[in-house]
């Protein structure tokens, strides 16, 4: 016994170390502080209370890192907000186009405008659909707002549209309200000109102009624009009617190609009658 006590006294530091290490491991293996029950709640509550008292004291290092984090978050949120706004605008446009699909009885093919060119008062747009998608020369191009133009060139995957704002534009049009017919042309301004309407015909500012059923190139009843101004010129039998296009060409992004090609039988008949009239005129 004496020897044991001497041993303990001699190695008391190592024995204490071993005991405390074992005790520490035992505490660790016992698990978390939840076993201390209410005592833990008191400690956590007290510490939390003390921390809340000094919470107003600014921590420059933490503030700096928080600032950096907030800046990054701000940038990220700005990008997301911009994307959201873009998506919202696209969503509105696409919804309108979806409605258009229901209104127009012909088959529509959606396309994105990927380029615009202007050469000597001839405005064109390039779209990302071509022959492989079923696009053909002469097809009508519209948006939910109205008539855009006509397909004038097609490759396998792309097509070129001749826009309304083109000096070659000549469209048989009519005033929706009074059914007055005329020829729509563009003379280099932001508006179109409705020609061949006599001064006695009823046309007023605000009237909607649509494609005529006389047109051999466009399907009828497609909105072209709205009358902006009506001018009666001296010494002229015709009125000068300026039409504001329904389509906003500078912001044109998505279009629909209408699966419409002129009726060949009708074209052939009209051409034959025309030829006959000319022949009669030549030989009265």
């Amino acid at each position: 016994m004496q020897r044991f006590i001497e041993f303990v006294v001699r190695f008391k530091n190592y024995i204490t170390l071993c005991t405390l290490v074992v005790l520490s491991f035992a505490l660790m293996s016992a698990g978390d502080l939840s076993q201390l029950g209410g005592f833990r709640a008191v400690i956590v509550g007290s510490i939390g209370w003390m921390q809340s008292i000094f919470a107003w004291v600014p921590n420059p290092v933490a503030l700096k890192s928080e600032n950096v984090a907030l800046r990054e978050l701000n940038l990220q949120l700005s990008v997301e907000a911009a994307r959201g706004r873009q998506a919202m605008v696209e969503n509105v446009t696409l919804r309108k186009m979806l409605e258009l699909r229901k209104v127009v009885d012909k088959k529509l093919l959606a396309a994105d405008v990927i380029g615009k060119t202007t050469t000597q008062l001839r405005n064109f747009a390039t779209i990302n659909k071509g022959k492989s998608d079923g696009v053909k020369d002469g097809m009508t191009v519209i948006t939910d707002a109205g008539l855009v133009g006509i397909v004038t060139g097609v490759s396998d995957h792309y097509a070129v549209i001749q826009l309304l704002l083109n000096r070659d534009t000549k469209i048989a049009a009519k005033v929706q309200r009074t059914r007055v017919d005329g020829i729509l042309a563009w003379e280099g301004e932001t508006t179109l000109l409705l020609k061949n309407v006599p001064t006695s015909y009823d046309v007023q500012a605000g009237d909607v102009i649509i494609t005529s059923n006389y047109s051999t190139r466009f399907p009828e009843n497609i909105v072209i624009g709205r009358v902006a101004r009506v001018e009666d010129e001296r010494n002229s039998l015709f009125r000068r009617i300026l039409v504001e296009p329904a389509v906003n060409f500078p912001t044109l992004e998505q279009v629909f190609i209408v699966d419409y090609t002129p009726e060949l039988e009708r074209l052939a008949l009209e051409r034959m009658v025309d030829d006959k009239q000319r022949a009669r005129g030549a030989n009265p």
């Binding site: 530091n13 204490t16 170390l17 405390l20 520490s24 505490l27 502080l33 400690i43 003390m50």
Partner: protein, 178 residues
């Protein structure tokens, strides 16, 4: 101000081991609260000095290896409870720190040792053992390289604790001077 005006005799208090133990306990509680509540203001990349470790080293140098280990164990356990960590983690590492620091116990010139640069070296050694052991248990359940974590946080904590140990060293050093 004369010694008679104090509520207790300071020299008597320094000579009385039970009173010293009570003082250590009160200081340990204050330091643990200071650690939790105030040290965030001087934290650098989440690294803070370990004030309870400095106290453990002090006790081990002044009172000896046995008391140092027990004090380390109790300080660690107190910190585990206050900081809501797994009980036993800090108790273990501070027991080891007390054991290491206890080797430098000199009964006659303890304050001289604390007032010198050797106190910083002892604190650095104890802090290294403390950080190494603590990070070993801390990192083990994580998918992180122990050595990377130790180099990044363990050595930083050791250095910061050693820097903080300069203050008690200077206080004792000034008292030693006539």
């Amino acid at each position: 101000m004369s010694a008679m005006q104090f509520p207790f005799d300071r020299s008597q208090y320094m000579k009385s081991p039970p009173l010293r133990m009570i003082a250590y306990a009160v200081i340990a509680m204050l330091l643990s609260v200071v650690h939790i509540v105030f040290l965030r203001f001087i934290s650098v990349s989440s690294v803070t000095p370990d004030l309870l470790l400095i106290l453990t080293v002090w006790i081990a140098i002044v009172e000896g290896q046995f008391t140092g280990m027990v004090a380390g164990f109790l300080c660690g356990l107190l910190f585990d409870i206050v900081s809501a960590q797994v009980p036993g983690t800090n108790a273990l590492v501070k027991t080891l720190a007390g054991f290491i620091a206890g080797y430098f116990y000199r009964e006659s010139d303890a304050m001289a040792l604390i007032g010198s640069a050797r106190f910083l070296l002892i604190t650095a050694l104890a802090a290294t053992v403390d950080s190494f052991t603590y990070n070993f248990f801390y990192v083990k359940p994580m998918q992180t390289s122990f050595w990377m974590f130790f180099v990044k946080y363990g050595i930083a904590t050791t250095l910061y604790t050693t820097v903080a140990a300069v203050f008690p060293m200077l206080v004792v050093n000034r008292r030693k001077d006539p």
